[in-house]
């Protein structure tokens, strides 16, 4: 049975935090990312980056989200576990984002550095 989204995102944060290159790259990237799976009872999960360290939150962390990511849950699980490049569902219109292109590029680069393309 596949992991639920929360466990996948926990794993994603852990991998980012254990990668010294990523921690260094994200040192000046203090952002809040809201991740929402599409569905009737979907509530967002929040990844907060502070001084290069990522933490997962079940409730809104207080600050408004800088970047919003929305997709079906199976797509989010695949993207944040490295099974799927984010570009493919993005170019199919399954993965939708809202925020600045700089932040979107940063998230894309994080997945690229973790898992290659």
């Amino acid at each position: 049975m596949s992991q639920n989204l929360e466990a996948v995102l926990e794993g994603f944060c852990l991998q980012c935090n254990q990668n010294s290159r990523l921690r260094d790259m994200n040192r000046d990237w203090d952002r809040v990312v809201a991740i929402t799976s599409q569905g009737e009872h979907a509530t967002p999960l929040w990844i907060v980056c502070r001084q290069g360290e990522l933490t997962l939150h079940r409730h809104a962390p207080g600050d408004e989200a800088d970047l919003e990511v929305e997709a079906p849950e199976e797509v989010l699980r695949a993207v944040f576990s490295g099974q799927l490049s984010p570009t493919e569902p993005y170019n199919r219109g399954e993965l939708m984002v809202r925020g600045s292109s700089d932040d979107l590029m940063r998230l894309d680069i994080i997945t690229l550095l973790l898992w290659g393309d």
């Binding site: 799927l84 490049s85 170019n91 219109g93 925020g99 600045s100 290659g116």
Partner: protein, 433 residues
């Protein structure tokens, strides 16, 4: 998040190319007197049909991948890849055509320095600014578009104040000339839709539709006024037909050296908006295509400021090389016709996509709906199809624009069918769902 102002400036800036002045002259030649500026306004009404198609598609899928997603969902994925490649290449054609016009303007103003060298310096400066990030390029776009539209309107009003159009002027052609002028006038607005890849950067989903419509209104007023001013000084545009830079001739005739340099600066801002907006949006589009390996993955390389530097510099170099070929051959009209043809066919395709997606995904939220109902949208699509075919079959050289587009399509199709699979074989880490 970006303000509405940036949606307006990006859309208006990308529509306001230096080649628009040549189109204004052609409109005036086809139908003189008051009919020239009326033709541009009627063309503006026609372009609103296409704009509302883009607005509906953009509201449905507000993504930087834009047409890549819309065609993929409304038609099929392979056509989406081919169309995206061809569409991105038309930005190169428009930049090259603008570079040619700017080189001609520089050649007149500073005859001892090669015009293309000065154009290369302008492109290098804009590329350097773009390498510093999207905010810098956005600020340049805002400033350039504001200066361009405000000063073009001010110049034209000043000319009309001193040289008013007589209340009644004879028409140079019959009603056929008027509708031909409307068809040419449509091309003054093309490029307005290149703002849609910025959709993710606006909090309010209606910013892009609003921005496009406001931009079209401003472009309509600015170029209708300029065409009226041109008519007031050169009825029927007689004496301007052989000039690559009619705006400089009109500037000098209206206000002497001040008018000449005013229009020279304005020409620089039009080219600036085209280069800056074209490089900024097209480089990110190329990045997205390279990330999915529709293009070689090296084009997805980012610099420290997360700008797709290789795509940006590659596009700048390609457009300059193309401009060099055009300066040498003087076949700029070929690029304009291909660019206009591709844009018109894309507008026709958006009508098909709107109707197709309404059938395929009827329940997906649509913050904005295209004007005209099913039959109105289809009729708009047919009009743009006819305009596209007309642009491709017109111009100098038998079938040259259609031939160049066929070559572009064949290259894109061949790449997607044969070249791209070789790149995608290397994807060891990624599995499909």
């Amino acid at each position: 998040m970006l303000p509405l102002r940036t949606a307006v400036s990006t859309s208006a800036g990308l529509a306001s190319a230096a080649i628009n002045f040549l189109a204004a002259v052609e409109v005036a030649q086809l139908t003189s007197g008051h009919w020239a500026w009326v033709a541009i306004l009627v063309a503006g009404v026609l372009i609103v049909l296409a704009a509302t198609n883009f607005a509906e598609l953009n509201g449905l899928y507000p993504t930087a991948a834009a047409i890549r997603v819309w065609i993929g969902r409304g038609w099929n994925d392979q056509l989406a890849r081919v169309a995206s490649l061809v569409y991105a290449s038309t930005v190169l054609l428009v930049m090259a055509a603008d570079a040619f016009v700017l080189a001609q303007a520089f050649g007149q103003a500073l005859p001892h320095v090669p015009g293309l060298l000065l154009v290369a310096l302008v492109v290098a400066a804009i590329s350097a600014a773009n390498l510093r990030g999207i905010r810098v390029s956005g600020a340049i776009q805002d400033l350039n578009a504001l200066v361009l539209l405000a000063t073009l309107m001010a110049f034209s009003l000043a000319v009309l104040w001193h040289h008013p159009l007589p209340p009644s002027l004879p028409r140079a052609a019959g009603s056929g000339g008027f509708w031909q002028a409307v068809a040419v006038g449509v091309f003054i607005y093309v490029g307005f839709e290149w703002v849609t890849p910025l959709a993710e950067e606006f909090r309010d989903a209606r910013s892009i539709p609003k921005g496009m419509l406001i931009a079209l209104g401003l472009v309509a007023i600015a170029y209708a006024l300029f065409t009226a001013a041109l008519e007031a000084l050169y009825p029927g545009a007689r004496g301007l037909a052989d000039s690559f830079t009619p705006q400089l001739v009109v500037g000098r005739a209206a206000m002497g050296e001040i008018g000449y340099w005013w229009m020279m600066i304005l020409t620089l801002t039009t080219a600036g908006t085209t280069f800056n907006g074209g490089l900024s949006t097209a480089s990110r589009f190329v990045y997205a295509l390279a990330r999915e390996r529709t293009l070689p993955p090296g084009w997805a390389r980012l610099n420290r400021r997360l700008v797709p530097a290789r795509a940006l510099l590659g596009l700048a170099a390609l457009s300059l090389a193309l401009a060099g070929v055009v300066v040498a051959s003087r076949h700029y009209q070929l690029l304009i016709n291909v660019g206009a043809g591709v844009e018109s066919l894309m507008y026709a395709l958006t009508a098909v996509l709107v109707l197709s997606l309404r059938r395929r995904e009827p329940n997906r939220p649509r913050p904005f709906r295209a004007l005209g109902g099913r039959y109105g949208i289809a009729a708009g699509g047919v009009i743009y199809l006819a305009l596209g075919v007309g642009a491709l079959l017109g111009g100098p050289g038998l079938l040259a624009p259609a031939g160049l587009l066929a070559l572009l399509l064949a290259l894109a199709w061949g790449w997607v069918r044969l070249g791209m699979p070789r790149w995608t074989q290397g994807r060891a880490h990624v599995q499909r769902l």
